[in-house]
């Protein structure tokens, strides 16, 4: 559905994207990993119009689009790395979502506030937080508001830039659960940028590894650990294995102390 062809981006005398091509099918969740500075975020930002690629084309449903302009602004939504920074401190949670509904003219005008509130409610946000300004919310709650705003636009593609890295463990877990939930209900196409492979196991169908502005690996999640060839990909696969080994030591007591649950 989303087709990226030959994207190139150079600035400050450095290449951030070198001829990057990538296709994402409808309903697919793609994880994009790489070391910092590999160009992951640049790719995500080029897809949303926050930056403009030097060359290359992006097509959505076979139509060439200019990211961040016209219909593409609504169709491709972007979730920022730091939710506390991407929410206006001047708006309440529900007005933040309402702004998007109004901006894209979604739903009948009279219903929009209700719509915004119900959307926030489906994201496990308590009622009393709807009318609070976002700086009074925790990081995890902000992430939910941001997600609600992005989904209020009813996008075809959701691009998430390091959605977990600024959250603590509990919030990370609940965000993952939420994203799983969203995908289950709406089958939204997602591109998730991450520096860590571990959380992507719960979300991504496919892993794309970016190194030095190039795609070096593109494998389904299920066989990534076994089939990855590139040294960087192998290093990532390696982290999965150590993690699992260490997690085993933590979960040793799980049987004895059941039913306490997450955050």
């Amino acid at each position: 559905m989303l087709d990226i062809q030959g994207l190139t981006k150079t600035f400050y005398g450095r290449a951030w994207l070198r001829d990057v091509s990538l296709s994402i099918a409808k309903g697919e969740v793609v994880g994009l990993i790489g070391r910092s500075g590999a160009g992951k975020s640049t790719l995500a930002r080029c897809l949303t119009g926050l930056e403009t690629a030097d060359t290359g084309t992006i097509t959505l449903n076979s139509e060439t689009i200019t990211p961040g302009r016209g219909a593409a602004r609504q169709q491709m939504q972007y979730l920022w790395q730091d939710p506390t920074q991407s929410l206006s401190p001047y708006l309440t949670a529900q007005n933040t979502v309402l702004e998007t509904l109004n901006g894209f003219g979604i739903g009948p005008r009279a219903q929009r506030l209700k719509q915004a509130r119900s959307l926030l409610a489906t994201f496990d946000l308590p009622q009393d937080s709807f009318t609070r300004r976002t700086h009074a919310l925790s990081g995890g709650q902000c992430q939910r508001v941001a997600l609600a705003r992005a989904l209020a636009a009813e996008p075809q593609v959701l691009i998430l830039d390091e959605p977990l890295s600024s959250l603590d463990l509990a919030a990370q877990l609940s965000t993952i659960r939420l994203l799983q939930d969203i995908h289950r209900k709406r089958a939204t196409t997602m591109l998730i940028v991450s520096h860590d492979l571990a959380p992507l196991r719960h979300l991504a169908h496919r892993i794309v590894v970016l190194d030095d502005a190039r795609i070096v690996e593109d494998l389904p999640m299920s066989c990534f650990a076994t089939q990855a060839q590139n040294p960087l990909s192998r290093a990532y696969a390696q982290t999965l294995q150590t993690d699992q080994a260490e997690a085993a030591s933590l979960s040793a007591h799980r049987e004895t102390e059941p039913a306490t649950g997450g955050a």
């Binding site: 571990a198 982290t239 993690d243 699992q244 997450g262």
Partner: protein, 255 residues
């Protein structure tokens, strides 16, 4: 044996309001490595700052005592703190990107640490850089020319040069990718091995803590709720500790 660091009933906050750190007590023994975990905003960084005397006004120690290496640092004068910092206690911070002074070369900043520690500059610097797997030529570079991981390793090198009795690492890997994180934690362990320093490792991520420490302190909402082996967190009486363990397990296991 008397512990290296003794924290007794430490409360920190604004005068005349509810404390942000509430009666925290813990000890760290000589050469012991301890993890300090907790959700965002629970007071981990504040604890670290208090132990380094880096509270910003109007925050201040309301009650309790800190003894480090036999010296009481409770209500210590600026001069006493200055004498303790660097040699007795040193801290590596979150956000390595901004931790080094941008206008001075890395070498100069390391040499400055060597002077404070009273060591031979050249030898100490090259030895420390070697230990954290950095090329010697980074001394001629300015911080902006280094990647985030390299900067954090420079900070660890600084700790190696200073040889503090207690090294506090406050979320040293936040914002770094997972592979770099691995290198940093290795370097941190090396540093602790070489200097014999005690380490207080602060993180929200149990996975990272596990690489450094086994004994883990868990904080929740300004209180210390658990002091246990990392493997025992899942069976802790404190819900916050259990929640952390569960989240960590859930994240690390394939679903």
């Amino acid at each position: 044996m008397v512990a290296l660091l003794q924290v007794q009933n430490l409360s920190v906050g604004l005068p005349f309001s509810a404390p942000l750190l509430d009666a925290i007590s813990f000890d760290i023994a000589e050469s012991e490595r301890v993890g300090l975990v907790g959700a965002s905003g629970c007071g981990k960084s504040l604890t670290a700052g208090t132990l380094c005397g880096l509270l910003r006004t109007p925050l201040r120690v309301l009650a309790g005592s800190i003894r480090l290496d036999g010296t009481s640092l409770t209500d210590a004068s600026p001069a006493t703190w200055r004498a303790a910092r660097g040699r007795s206690v040193f801290q590596i911070f979150q956000s390595p990107g901004t931790a080094l002074t941008p206008v001075r070369r890395v070498g100069t900043q390391l040499a400055e640490a060597a002077q404070i520690a009273g060591r031979d500059t050249k030898a100490a610097v090259s030895q420390a850089l070697d230990a954290v797997a950095l090329q010697p030529d980074v001394t001629g570079l300015f911080p902006y020319q280094l990647s985030g991981g390299m900067k954090q390793r420079v900070l660890i090198a600084m700790a190696l040069i200073l040889r503090p009795r207690l090294l506090i690492a406050d979320e040293p890997t936040t914002g770094l990718d997972v592979l770099t994180e691995h290198d940093i934690l290795t370097a941190l362990n090396t540093a602790a091995d070489e200097t014999g320093a005690s380490v207080l490792f602060i993180s929200h991520d149990l996975r990272a803590v596990r690489r450094i420490a086994t004994r883990t302190l868990v904080m929740h909402a300004g209180r210390l709720v658990e002091d246990a082996d990392i493997a025992d967190l899942a069976i802790s009486k404190a819900p916050a500790a259990r929640a952390l363990a569960t989240a960590a397990t859930a994240l690390q296991n394939p679903c």
